[in-house]
Amino acid sequence: GMASDANFISLNKTVILDKNGILKAVKLIPNKMIVFEKLRFKPDKAEGMNFGTIFKGGYITTDVDSLDTHADDAQGKDNRLSLIDTHGKSQSIKRENIIEMKDEGFTGEEIVQRLVENSASFADKTAFSQNKYLKKKKKKYLSYVRVHKPNARLITQLYQEREPAKICNIRIDTISQILTAANIRHGANVAVVETCSGVVLGAVLERLGGNGCVVNLHNGEAPPNLFAVSHFNFPDSYWDDNLHSVPLHKLGPLLAKRSFEDEFPDEQTSKRKTSEISEVTMDIGDAVDRQSNNCDATKEENKTHGKRKFTDEEKLAVRLERRKNRLAHQKRGWDILEGRKLDTFIVACKFHPTPIVLCLLELLQLSRPFVVYSEYKEPLMELFVRLSVSGVAINLQLCDTFIRQYQVLPERTHPQVMMSSGGGFLLTGLKV
């Protein structure tokens, strides 16, 4: 929709805050203090500003160039004459000096630059420890926050850096491979089995662009909290029309040709019974009330009792509405599966993939791709052999991606020292 594609910051929407590459998803609530990496600020001033806007000590600037730190340029000198032991004497700027500088309005960048210039040992450090030093100092003195529009890239990055276990250690490069291997496109019907906090679901929904359906097959009875999906700021229509959750344990009954009505009994009838019962109890309560007119205590008790019953009724109505809504979603998801209308499926979960994949292959259209992610190679190898024996899938490939980031600076280009490994494995194939 138009609103979600707007390139300016609106209140009551989720944004991604970025402080020196540390990310956080936050909903901007009017006049509500945001606490992020020791910074406190209210979001109100940001309303209407472009994404990429910078919050800096309470005010907002759009001067991008002044904030670009070129402190990296200081490194890479000959360190053969390294002084080994300086015992904290190498820094000539004292704590008092820094406080003075802050009072004089020096920026964080300027303070870091001064610290580097006045460090006797900085030039003698290895590139690695120079980097570490800069990172530490920048973290301490650079106190600006940028506001980004949420998207799959930032949300994956956020989880990858902060809580990788919550997304099964899936990496940006891996999720990018999943989206292409599954041929995710507008209008596609996609089944997703994930235990990645909704990151995979969100990335798929983003690529559907409001057109097509995701059947979210989840473990257990109730759909899990999809925190990551809510970070995307999708319009309501995405939740209403494009995302349908069905319990995984309904796959068996579906394949056994059970009917939706049998598997998801309409609870309206049983609910009507309970509401009838509560009506009856209410009548009894009223009768008791009328009978014990002269006993104030009982009257009071009955009143509060009646009141509580009323809110329970309200709660029940909300719960009924929610259940009805969930049932409607389950019906739509079920129909896509039962009608064998799947254009692709993605499995990226903590469970053993083999039974899930064998079931979903039954529901996938011919000549359509599927993708299975696992943190470990072994279950995918087993699945690979099962599929190649069964003959229901071709073009099977088991692979992983190796990613390396580089620092590229004049005379100082090299692979980044710190590298994450273990982005998991992918098995891809085509149903025939």
């Binding site: 594609d5 300016f8 472009n50 994404f51 991008v64 160039d65 670009d68 070129h70 799959a152 890239r153 940006i172 490069d173 990018s176 491979q177 989206l179 292409t180 291997a181 041929n183 496109r185 507008h186 209008g187 596609a188 690529r207 559907l208 662009g209 409001g210 057109n211 254009d343 259209q365 011919l366 000549s367 359509r368 190679k377 072994e378 190898m381 087993e382 690979f384 052999v385 099962r386 190649s388 024996v389 071709i394 073009n395 490939q397 088991l398 692979c399 992983d400 991606t401 190796f402 990613i403 390396r404 980031q405 580089y406 590229v408 004049p410 280009t413 692979p415 085509l430 149903k431 025939v432």
Partner: protein
């Protein structure tokens, strides 16, 4: 057709992928009355028309599958007119450029159209690709290909020199992709093509010196770019072999033996194997 929409059956005029193995497939334009040769023998197009995609066809010396094309299958089967980008890099490019339906993209150069097909798939139906190709013949060929693949509504191919003439559009793009010999000279035109509210740029270079020059240009004060990241990606394929390991006969089939063994406190074998079973095992 086939690229633009998913449909169940093969029709005349479709581009289909003939699959013989993961390292042996090629595209054909299905035409009434025509015959294509495969290494497993001839396949008549009339035989294919009307059948479901994914169907197996028997030729004289083996069998082939007829598949619906996807940008990923196209990338490994397309006729090479240049060096092409492969899916491992394409995936990361699409993701890093934040592409989704509705995105407007500028690309230079078009080359053999490997990335272009993936971009169009991702930004359709409401997005648009402006792709610039220096070589006239290649531009013309790409234009024809997009038309044959039913993608003309989503793309314009421009024959021009992006370094001399710049991108053909101003302030409309969400993302820019550069795969040219001197990307450092295209930074200002890229900046002009991007929306005023900002956007993403990706430059692909096979050699590190080019990357260094591009980074320097992007880091120039006033270039308008920031948050520069440099990635290298390699896809590692595991070769999973299907090997069958026969089971030895331990005399466990005997019922009396089984009963006796089951009585033990800690059964030796948790599950029973039939002697002669072949258990498939994966091997790398």
């Amino acid at each position: 057709m086939g690229f633009e929409s998913c449909k169940p059956n093969v029709e005349a005029g479709d581009v289909v992928i003939i699959f013989m193995g993961h390292d042996s497939m090629f595209p054909i334009n299905v035409k009434k009355g025509e015959i294509s040769q495969t290494k497993f023998g001839a396949i008549k197009h009339d035989q294919v028309i009307g059948h479901e995609y994914g169907t197996k066809f028997t030729c004289s010396k083996g069998w082939v599958y007829v598949l619906q094309p996807t940008p990923e299958l196209w990338t490994i089967t397309l006729p090479h007119r240049t060096q092409i980008l492969y899916t491992v890099d394409i995936s990361m490019i699409l993701f890093q450029l934040d592409l989704k339906p509705g995105s407007v993209v500028c690309e230079s150069g078009t080359g053999s159209g490997s990335l272009s097909h993936a971009i169009i798939r991702t930004i359709a139906p409401s997005g648009y690709l402006h792709t610039v190709e220096f070589h006239e013949g290649r531009a013309e060929k790409a234009r024809l290909e997009f038309k044959e693949h039913g993608l003309s509504n989503y793309v314009t191919v421009y024959h021009r020199d992006v370094l001399k003439d710049g991108f053909p559009v101003t302030s409309v793009a969400d993302a820019i992709f550069l795969d040219i010999p001197s990307p450092e000279n295209a930074i200002s035109t890229a900046s002009n093509a991007l929306k005023k509210s900002g956007g993403r740029l990706c430059s692909f270079s096979p050699c590190i010196e080019q990357v260094q020059r591009t980074c320097s240009a992007l880091r120039q004060k006033g270039s308008g770019f920031r948050d520069i990241q440099i990635f290298e990606l390699v896809r590692r394929s595991s070769n999973v072999k299907r090997i069958f390991v026969p089971m030895a006969d331990l005399g466990l089939a005997d019922e009396g033996v089984q009963r006796e063994l089951a009585k033990q406190e800690n059964p030796i074998l948790p599950c029973s194997y039939e002697a002669g079973d072949d258990i498939p095992v994966g091997e790398v």
